[in-house]
Every structure is written in C-alpha cells, then in structure tokens.
Symmetry: D2
Subunit: 294 residues, 4 copies
Amino acid sequence: MAERPERGKVASYIPELAKIDPRKFGLVVVSNDGEIAVAGDSEAPFSIQSISKVFTLTLALGKIGDRLWQRVGREPSGSAFNSIVQLEYEKGKPRNPFINSGAIAVTDVILSGQPREALGEILRFMQFVADDNAIKIDDEVAASEQRTGYRNAALANYMKSFGVLDNPVHFTLGVYFHHCAIAMNCRQLAMAGRFLANNGINPSTGMSVVTPERAKRINSIMMMCGHYDGSGEFAYRVGLPGKSGVGGGILAVAPGKASIAVWSPGLDETGNSYLGRIALEQLTRRMGWSVFGA
Amino acid sequence: MAERPERGKVASYIPELAKIDPRKFGLVVVSNDGEIAVAGDSEAPFSIQSISKVFTLTLALGKIGDRLWQRVGREPSGSAFNSIVQLEYEKGKPRNPFINSGAIAVTDVILSGQPREALGEILRFMQFVADDNAIKIDDEVAASEQRTGYRNAALANYMKSFGVLDNPVHFTLGVYFHHCAIAMNCRQLAMAGRFLANNGINPSTGMSVVTPERAKRINSIMMMCGHYDGSGEFAYRVGLPGKSGVGGGILAVAPGKASIAVWSPGLDETGNSYLGRIALEQLTRRMGWSVFGA
Amino acid sequence: MAERPERGKVASYIPELAKIDPRKFGLVVVSNDGEIAVAGDSEAPFSIQSISKVFTLTLALGKIGDRLWQRVGREPSGSAFNSIVQLEYEKGKPRNPFINSGAIAVTDVILSGQPREALGEILRFMQFVADDNAIKIDDEVAASEQRTGYRNAALANYMKSFGVLDNPVHFTLGVYFHHCAIAMNCRQLAMAGRFLANNGINPSTGMSVVTPERAKRINSIMMMCGHYDGSGEFAYRVGLPGKSGVGGGILAVAPGKASIAVWSPGLDETGNSYLGRIALEQLTRRMGWSVFGA
Amino acid sequence: MAERPERGKVASYIPELAKIDPRKFGLVVVSNDGEIAVAGDSEAPFSIQSISKVFTLTLALGKIGDRLWQRVGREPSGSAFNSIVQLEYEKGKPRNPFINSGAIAVTDVILSGQPREALGEILRFMQFVADDNAIKIDDEVAASEQRTGYRNAALANYMKSFGVLDNPVHFTLGVYFHHCAIAMNCRQLAMAGRFLANNGINPSTGMSVVTPERAKRINSIMMMCGHYDGSGEFAYRVGLPGKSGVGGGILAVAPGKASIAVWSPGLDETGNSYLGRIALEQLTRRMGWSVFGA
C-alpha cells in the first residue's frame, strides 16, 4: 500500500452513497465449521447494492429453474455494468444476471403481482440465509436511486421494448432499486453467503438452501461475471467467486471453506471496492484459498 | 446424448482441419501423483491450435513478466475469438491473451530475431513440459492456415498500426500459424498441462516450470477466457480452468489434482469441442473436481 | 412496378398505425409560384410521425439558434432510427435531429413549462406554415404510442442520465409522442414545406418564416439524415432533401422550385415509404429536379 | 478567421505527407462554359489521396455497372474513414465507396490481372478527364504509404476473409496506395471534375464520360459520403457534392455550374481540409451555389 496510499473513489452517482465515510473498512470470515473472524467496522451497515443480485438470482432460479436462461445469458459481458450496447446487439437479452440489465430481468422474474410482495420475499430470503431478522432496506438510499436512476430506467424500458420484461417497467424498477438498497454489515453478509461455500447447505442449521449443483453454478457465475469489467482482474488476483457492489462491499466464497465479506467504500475504475479486493487478495494468498492453486 | 446425437461441426475455415474424421474421440487424465487414465483415440495426434496459447503465454511471461499486461489485457472479451471490434475501441490492445489478437501479440513478445528461432523455442518448451521430444509441428496445417488466415492477418496489421507489434507482421504471423499447428495426442497434451495442476512444478521430475503464483494466475486466465464467448458456459458446466482449440481439443486443469486432455473434432456454435465439453462435465461431476463446489 | 408489385409493409409497432389501408396513395406538388398538382388520396389525413421533426427542428433553432448543436449533432448516423448504441459511444449526444434520440432532444429544447403549452406552440406553427388551422393531433395515435413507446422511453432516460434533457422525461416524451401524432393530408404537408423550397419565405404571403441561410441548412440536414439508414438511397435515387415518417409520408423539397408531399403506408426495410420513394424518383427524373444534375 | 487563426494539422500518418508546407493554399474554379478562375498555389502539385476514389468509382461503375452495389453500399458510415467496426457488423461489405474499405473494394473491381495495368488504366482515365497527360503518380508517397499502411492492410485482409476481394491482397493494396498517390494541382483537379458538373459530358470536347444519370448519382454519393464523418458538416456549410483527401485537397461540384478544386494541407479533426472547407463555404455563399437554396 505504500506505493498507492489512496483508497479509490466513493460512488457518487447515487447521492445517498456519496455521503459515506471513505475511511470505513470491515472484514468478516465465516468458516464452514462455524468459526467467525472479524476485523474493523464489521458491525457497521452499508448498502449492499449489486451484491443483492446473488440472492435475487438464487430466488429466481428457485422459481423458474433453468428457464431463466432463456431470458438472461451467463457469459461475461466485456463491458461496463451499465452498458446498453450489448442489449441492442443481442435483441434485449442481457449477457448475465449480474450486469444491471440482467439483474433487472431477474427481478422481473421474481415479481408477479405487487412490488411490495416481491420485495418482502427478497428481504425475508436475505434474513433467512443470514439467520438475522434485523436486516432492512434503507428507504432513503432506495428513494435516492429511484430519483436518479435514469440509466437503469433506460435499460428496463429497452428490454421491455423487446418483450424481455413481463411487469410494468416502474414496478420492476421499484423492486430493483429497493433490493439494491438493502443495508447489511459484514457479519450479516458473510453469514448470508455460507450456503454458497457449503454446497448449498446452511452449515449451522444443516438446512438445504439450494442443491449442491445449483450452489456450484451460482459460484461459477460469480467468478465469471461478479465484478463487471473487473471480473478477470478479481479472478487473477483473488481467485474466488465473488460479487461486488458500488457501496464498496464484496461477498467472496471459498468453496468448501468459508464465506467472506469485506467493505471499503472507495472504488477502483471498474466500480469495485479498491481496498476490498486488496484485502481479499492478501487473505486468499495467506490461506491458500484461491481455487486456482496454492 | 440420446436427445442430441450429433457431435457438432468440424472446423472448416482451415482447409486441412476440415479433413479430420468427426468420429474421433480421446480422453486422458494424468493425476498429480502420476496415475494416467486413457480412453478412446488417446494416441492419435491432432492439431492443438489455440491450446498452444497457454504455453506461449507461459513463455512470454517468462520473458518479460508482468510487463506483458501493458500489451494485452486479461478480461473476458464478451465476443467471438476473431472479433476486431474490441481492438478498435481499445486502441489496438487485445482484451486477453487467448483471443486471436491477444495470442498474436503474445507471439510477438516471444519473437526477437528470426521466426525459426522463436518457433524452435516454443516447440522445445512444449516438448519439455510434456517430457516428449516426439512432438512436432504439422507443416501442412501451418501452410493451410497461412494461405487462408486473412482474418488473423487483419488483426495483426491492425495491431501493428497501433504499434502493439514490434516485429514485421509476416514474421509474427508465421510463428503464430506454426505454433497453432503443433500436433499432439491427448496423452502428450495432458502431460504438458501437469505443471498447471501442480503449482508450477512438473510432478514427475519435481522441477519448477513456473512459480506457484504464476501457475495460479495462468489458471485464472484459462477459466475466464479459455473458451472465447463460451467461457461462461464452460465454467458453468465444467468448473475448471481450460483452453480449447478449433481442432477439437481441450486442456483442462484440476488444481491440486490432475491435468486432463480431451479431443473430439466437432465444435459447438462458440467454436469449442462439443463432445469434449460434455465429457469434461461428466468427469468433473463424478470426481467432484469443479473448483466451485462438490 | 411490374417487376415488384408489392408495396412494402405497414408499420406495426404503433398499434394504431397498423390499421391503415395499405393501398392508399397520395401526392401533391406545390410550386413556388403557387401552382398545385394533386393525385390520389391527397385529402386523406395520415399520421405524419417523424416528418414533424423538420418543424420542431425549425422551432428549436428559432428558440436557441446554433446553441442547439451543442446538444445534437448533424451527421448521418449510419444506423437505424432507434439505435441506442451511438448514444453510449457519444455520451448521450444524438448524432442528428432526425433520429429518434435527436428529435426527443429537440423537443426538450422547445419545452419549458407545461407540455400542453409546447404542444400548442408546435401545432400552431404547423398550422401557420401550412396556412391551415384545421390541422390536428390524432389523440388515439398519440395514446397508442405512449402506451408502447418503450424504445423511445429508453432513449429519453438514457439521454437524461447524461444530462442532455432538461425537463422531466415523461414531459418531454409526452410532447414528442403527440407531435409525431399530428395528422395531415398531402396537400397540407406540401403547403407546410413551401418555406423550405423558397429560401425561408412563405411564397403566398411573402412572409419570412426563417432566414434563407437557415432554410438552406435545414434542407442540408434533411438530405443527409432525413431517411435514417436509407438516406444514402434516397439521395441516390431521388436527389432531393426529404423527410420520411413511419406513417408512410415523405416531405421533399426541390429548392427554388417546389414542395412535394407523398403518402403510401407500406414501408421498405429501412422504415421509409416504399412507393413514396419510387414516386418521387420518377417525378424528379421527369422534372429534372434532382439537385445533383439533370 | 480572426477568431481561429490556425489552419488545422497536416496529416502525419503518411510520412511523406507530413513534410508539406502547411501555408500552401490554392483554389481553381472551372465553369461549365469554360471560364477558369485561379487563386494562390494553383499550379503546385499535391497528393490527391482519397479524391482519387471519385475516379476509381467512376471506372468501376463503367466496368460492372450496378453490380458494384452488391459489394459496396452507398450509405454514410457514421464513423471514421478507417473504422473496421462496421465491416464486422456488416460481414465485410463496406458502407460506401469513399471510406477506405469501400475504396479498396472498388479498386479490386478495377484490377484484373497485373497491378501495373490497372494502375495505368486509372492514370490514363485521370489524364483523359483532366485533358492533361502530365499527371503522374508520386512514387515516394506511394512507397511511404505502402510501408506504413497497416490499417489499410487490416481492412483489405478483413474483407478478403469475407470473400469481398477477388485479387491477392497485396495486388489490390498496391494499386490502391498508388492511385491515392497521384499528384495533381488545383487546376488539373478542377478540370478533371468537369464531367460531374456537366451531366457527364466534358464541356470542352463535348464528349460523354458517363451518362447524365450516372454523373448525378456519383454526385449524390459525394454529397452523402465524401467527407467521412464530416460529411454532414460539409453539406451544412458548403452545400455541394465534394470529396476530400488527407493531402488537404477537396474537389467540389456545383451541378450545372462549375467544378472547383481547393487545397490547404491543414486538416480538421475529421480529417478534412480546414481552410479548404471554409473557402468553399464562402465561395458557395457568395455565388449562391449551394444545392440547398440561395
């Protein structure tokens, strides 16, 4: 860090996020056998933003299974998180569930009826996998995004024009903006990721959240697409499936070993937590946790 | 397979490759402790084509280390193996070392002086990692590609216009076409991949080929970019770092466990061996070798 | 016509337009010295759609002059009328005022305050240049577009995210959908175009609508961009500045000579009236009116 | 000019062109009735570069007529003169005969047999339309381009891969580089353009070069595509069909009136002569020659 002391730039396009203290840093590791290691601001809640897409993907696969892949691809996009170019070339079908367009399409799958119901379902699922009913949506962040989310409105309307969305655009966007505004701390987030590190099973209760096969496949999508156009960089340096959010959080999964959450609000130029990735790189190197070799 | 009996389509754009018998199939697994399992046409040589890019990448990193990344990126491309669009938007810098443009840029790094010398170096390295001096270049395939490789000539000239290549275009292309024309059988290829499955060390001799760190990172690039625009699909179904070639071969690496080579000439629509991927999917599922979970 | 009897395909993406009788055909020529020639369904009103963009461009230039060009370019787009790709590469600035994004940006310039006022201003301007107060907006067509105009909503939201639009998105879109839904017949439309054929002056009243310089420049933009990705074809075959609409109308201007309106609902694959263009090609050839030579 | 005293930037990517004195300026107008007006360096030869494409287009149309349009489109490109992106999206078919790829495809049509013959044919045609046998190719410029023309080599190889070129790539490129290196002065160039201003007929000899129809259509393509991604700007400001070259020359055609050549080596950011366009803008305004109105 000596040669690069700065911490990246806090996301400013969502006004509420721009207010966050850039010096915050938290890290929590929950091993499959139940040990928890915490560091820094591990109890401070932050906006999980795109990390929520891992959980909406899990829910949507639970609802319609592999039919989801008729609506959304699962290839890396080779472009920024909010690019609309790919949508035009591929007739409204998003490349994967983790770029914004793909996550909006996934949200649309979960939604059938009133936005409030879908949102409740997402929040309850998050509370369930984290074993923590205190998890909430930060309504101010959601409102801030809703007021300024023109780019996402463009993506949603564009997909709607191709028939990719079933629900009214403002319904789907409403649910999307709100699930991105879920606030969690590192401990809650690491807890929520345990089923992905443990073949689909919550290791503390022994209850199955998804099949081992599905856990494996969600992990593969996190590896390939979890960091937008910095996914290759994350695989190269960290070597774990992971998903970042512009709030500065990252959820990483060491299959068979541990679930890890890190938070540092400053972002690199690809929109991923700058210190968060460095912390994960050091952690996986010391622990030998990279899936690509010791 | 009952519901889809066909085997994909043999690559036809290189005339020599179009002559291959589509019913060929070979599979070899070499475990890190030296066991070898063989199946089918495991001794029949085939054109390794783009699989050679794993080894030229290794050589180029050995020559100039991380300076390589000033010339070539390491992000998935989100497009076909021979797309030129990305090059224009990113000013001649290829997205990764495994798309054609990137591999040509890597070849240019290895080349300094006469093409014959660079080619000798590449071939000797291949013989070294495979412990097999019988590995040869198929000159007819190389000549066939050289006569018809207009798309690659376009990519090379385009990069040259941006100053990305140091050598005369036809020198670099000559080496590229020839190393793609290396002929190997599944056994030789699986042997050649052992250092990647074993933290950089040839498990039979104990000699270090690359550092553990570098082996890990080459694996990460294979995972993210090894199957062009089918890389997400390969990660999703197989869950191992791998590199395919249009000759129908795939080299896959199970870190800490085994090196695997498979060959079936029929390709799917993303240019990767159709049966090869299915075989690897079944193998990794039964063995629990996916890096993403059991 | 013997060798190609069909008439193209009526636009179907706006439900109300799909109901039009495809056999309709009208043509009106108004010469600068006041002669009128009529043929076919010259009194049947049709939806002028994108032809309205010529008049909103004129109004916006009247309001803010050349500052308009900071928001909108004036180069041909090389792509379809509703492409969003160019907007991403050029940071939300539309290529020209006649593709949908550009026309929405022009509408936004006219709008300041309530949509109703802007719409009244546009309609009165149309009535003024056509000398005809009977011209109206077809509210059913406007409502039909508003319900289904997701692609335009995507374009507008996308520009809004770049700060290209000043007004609330739904205000600007509301005005846009309504001015596209103005209904006119060929006679009214040919009358409305007279000032462009006559150096900016209404030839019947002698009143100046725009300066000669501005009339010339609007004509140049019609020539270069008036038929989307069929603009080159129209220049090649007809050789006049013109603007088409998906309702099947075309307004063409023979500078110094005449204003021409033609209407046939069937469209070619670039979204321009198929028979309309053929009629104009024959007319200009016989009259020697092409600006490119006899 | 007071507010912007500079003259643009001399093209530097062809080394020989970078040596030209940027203060040169020449202008020649040849009216259809034979009057000649000259100004400045009207007798100094310069490299006509892309202006030669008007004449190769004329020759190719003479050879295969409208079948040419199966190989090359005639729509504006909406991108830079040497963009390769469009070629990928449209399967190797260039958008128009005046972008580099299109002009290379046109050259390929003229070539059948030895490059020397095709080159002789092009040069003789140029001498014929200009009534001047002293016109020559500047071999040093041609050699300079051939040594450094990697971008054009990329375009040509790319088209070859789609089967758009019939001849060996280096044959076609050789002819292309040489006809771009034809050296002419403003007087010769204005003379050469007379048939386009006079319905296809050389006004001094009365001999027909092309049909009136064809002259008209070549003019339309010059209007739509003659200045790359500055074509809209040229139409807007000058209002005449014209073709520019990176040597700083522009040939403009006032149909029925005059042929005009202007030369000033400094280029604007779209690669067109900066002062040349301003001179033409002033000329056409004073003369009332814009095809779009007085």
